[in-house]
């Protein structure tokens, strides 16, 4: 069953290649993409089930023993996030054809979208640091292309800023990986975990750790490295916004989570302290930025930043509860942000714009969308009974238990600002009468695409509600993931000790 671990990469990769081959037929591409995502979801679910049953799964690619070849490894964290990403992918695959202009969709959306999921899946399951760099780049180029596919003024500007900063991040990440190699002579993360402890100049290890904070921090949109995100995320088509918001930065958080539990544990006081400080500023900057914006897409963009801060706080606190909270929040946030951006996109279609001042009237016009968006927004604000509440509770509790008073305060203040924001946004988008006259209801959407547009939003809203009402299963998996992160011995042993079993 260990071949399951290659599925998060291989399935979308096959999807990318097939859709590229089928470039003449858009319907065929759509079917392939949806089938790919469905299959991916099933495979990731199977992988998670397998991990939950039998612990960490490792696969020695090309059948070379670790640490010489590339090892793929899935623990609870990897499998869970891969599954969440697959669900997001499935939602987008359904939503996108109804959302994108035909020309844009035919202009390469499908292969690139599939490739994006290749990168995401790869980053989640690889056990090799350089290989992770490669998947990050697959993600980066795919997101570049998706961002600029429409070619409008806004998109071009956003994509330029995105590129300007992320190209630097790419080089930094590469350099950071190479430095770790130079210090230890290996790239396998499990092996690195062991060898880094023996490096004589631990100061260098800390320095490289900080370089990783910067490199992954840019990807994750940490303060003061996040500028590309609010500059770019609001510009592309809804489907693209949603998939980027749902997946990209979360992979950055995953990378921080992995590297600061497995690799950089020798100088926690310093490295995790730096991370903690940055997380605090990120929360503040994101929450304030969201308040300062008058366009729902930009509001949500800054909210992506704010929640990144919250999650990274979990990484930095590095207690089992904090890690569990971080993992839980990651999954919640992937689903939620996708849903929010998709929902805002539907609202945009009805309102004819995204400037909050010009929106309104949706509460009267469309009870269904109102209900769904209310659930999503309330979850964003961390209100029960939605999933956001539990993540926030776990993280705040972890901060308080770790006696990180200031951070707990910042997190709570960010929560308050978000609640205010949500109240305001709700008032502007839904309650207020639309300045330009009554908003049309969902019936005004083209019949063919209506279900495809609303269905994913509904699914994600239901997901956040379901997790909120019944948090124990996800929390249990998160707790197990956190336990594995806190004590990576099993992970290391499975990766490095699989020399006999791996071939079978």
């Amino acid at each position: 069953m260990s071949w399951l671990v290659v599925c998060p990469i291989l399935i979308p990769l096959v999807g990318a290649a097939s859709t590229a081959l089928l470039r003449g037929s858009l319907p065929a591409q759509r079917i392939v993409t949806i089938a790919t995502m469905a299959l991916l979801t099933a495979a990731c679910a199977a992988l998670l089930w397998r991990v939950n049953q039998g612990g960490v799964v490792a696969l020695q690619l090309s059948n070379w023993e670790a640490p010489f070849g590339i090892t793929l490894a899935a623990d609870h964290l990897s499998a869970l996030l891969a599954l969440a990403a697959a669900v997001v992918g499935l939602c987008i695959a359904v939503f996108a054809p109804a959302d994108l202009e035909r020309e844009r969709e035919a202009g390469g959306f499908h292969p690139v979208f599939n490739a994006l999921l290749v990168g995401v899946g790869g980053a989640f399951v690889t056990g090799d640091l350089f290989n992770m760099y490669v998947w990050f780049e697959v993600m980066l180029i795919s997101s570049f292309v998706l961002l600029s596919l429409g070619g409008t003024r806004e998109q071009t500007d956003g994509a330029l800023k995105y590129a300007g900063i992320n190209l630097v991040a790419t080089v930094l990440l590469l350099l950071a990986v190479a430095l770790l190699y130079a210090l230890t002579g290996t790239l396998n993360m499990a092996d690195l975990s062991i060898r880094l402890k023996d490096v004589e100049n631990q100061g260098m290890v800390s320095t490289v750790a900080v370089l990783f904070i910067i490199a992954f921090g840019i990807k994750a949109a940490l303060f003061p490295l996040f500028f590309w995100l609010p500059a770019a995320y609001h510009t592309p088509a809804t489907a693209v916004q949603a998939v980027l918001a749902g997946l990209l930065t979360k992979v950055g958080v995953y990378a921080l989570l992995r590297s600061f539990t497995l690799l950089f544990t020798g100088d926690e006081g310093y490295t995790h302290g730096v991370l903690l400080g940055l997380a605090g500023f990120t929360m503040a900057a994101g929450a304030l930025g969201a308040l300062a914006m008058g366009d729902i897409r930009r509001v949500l963009g800054f909210q992506v930043v704010a929640t990144i801060g919250l999650m990274v706080m979990g990484v930095a606190l590095n207690t089992p509860l904090a890690l569990a909270g971080c993992v839980f929040y990651l999954v919640h946030d992937m689903l939620l942000k996708t849903g929010l951006f998709l929902g805002a996109g539907v609202a945009r279609r009805l309102s004819g714009g995204t400037a909050l001042a010009g929106m309104g009237g949706l509460y009267a016009a469309t009870p269904l969308l109102s209900l769904l968006m209310f659930a999503l927004l309330a979850s964003l604000a961390g209100f029960p009974p939605f999933s956001g509440f539990w993540g926030k509770l776990a993280l705040v509790r972890a901060a308080l238990e770790a006696e990180a008073w200031v951070m707990a305060g910042v997190a709570l203040a960010m929560g308050l600002l978000t609640m205010w924001l949500v109240g305001r946004v709700w008032g502007e988008m839904f309650w207020k009468a639309r300045p330009a006259g009554d908003a049309p209801g969902l019936a005004s959407l083209p019949a063919a695409g209506r279900a495809a547009l609303v269905g994913p939003v509904a699914l994600l809203a239901l997901a956040t509600l379901a997790i909120g009402l019944w948090p124990a299963p996800l929390m249990e998996i998160s707790a197990r993931a956190a336990a594995e992160l806190s004590d990576p011995a099993a992970y290391i042993q499975t990766v490095l000790g699989a020399r006999e079993g791996g071939a079978q």
Binding site: F130, T156, A292, G294, R298, A355, R424, E428
Partner: protein, 125 residues
């Protein structure tokens, strides 16, 4: 030799950063190219420098002779070069697109996504 090359890549990094701080998008791209070159040189240097002995197994040998260059960093750099090329080519065309849309290469004049208005973006309601 490693010392010289490390310093050389440090200098290249500094120059690249200066270019990246420019408002001219082409200079920014040049900075990216130079930065990649610097990083690749740095990685190569970190792997140790061995003059003139490529990691090729001789026709009569079965394993690599001692004293040949470190092979792994080479493979990594090769991958990095190719990836960098892909990213750069796309970024370049993006800059071109920027020019066709905005008629300028001055990044400070390209403000469609984040319009200049007061101090805080477009302002909240």
């Amino acid at each position: 030799m490693e010392l010289v090359m490390a310093i050389a890549s440090g200098v290249m990094v500094a120059i690249a950063v200066y270019l990246l701080l420019s408002r001219h998008l082409l200079r920014l791209l040049f900075g990216v190219i130079l930065l990649s070159n610097a990083a690749n040189l740095a990685i190569f240097t970190l792997g140790g420098l061995t003059e003139g002995e490529p990691p090729l197994i001789g026709p009569d040998a079965e394993i690599l002779a001692a004293g040949t260059a470190n092979s792994l960093p080479q493979a990594l750099i090769l991958t990095a070069i190719v990836i960098g090329f892909g990213l750069l080519a796309f970024a370049l065309v993006l800059v071109y697109r920027g020019y066709t849309v905005f008629g300028t290469l001055d990044s400070d004049e390209i403000r469609a996504a984040e319009p200049v208005r007061g101090s805080g973006g477009e302002g909240a309601p």
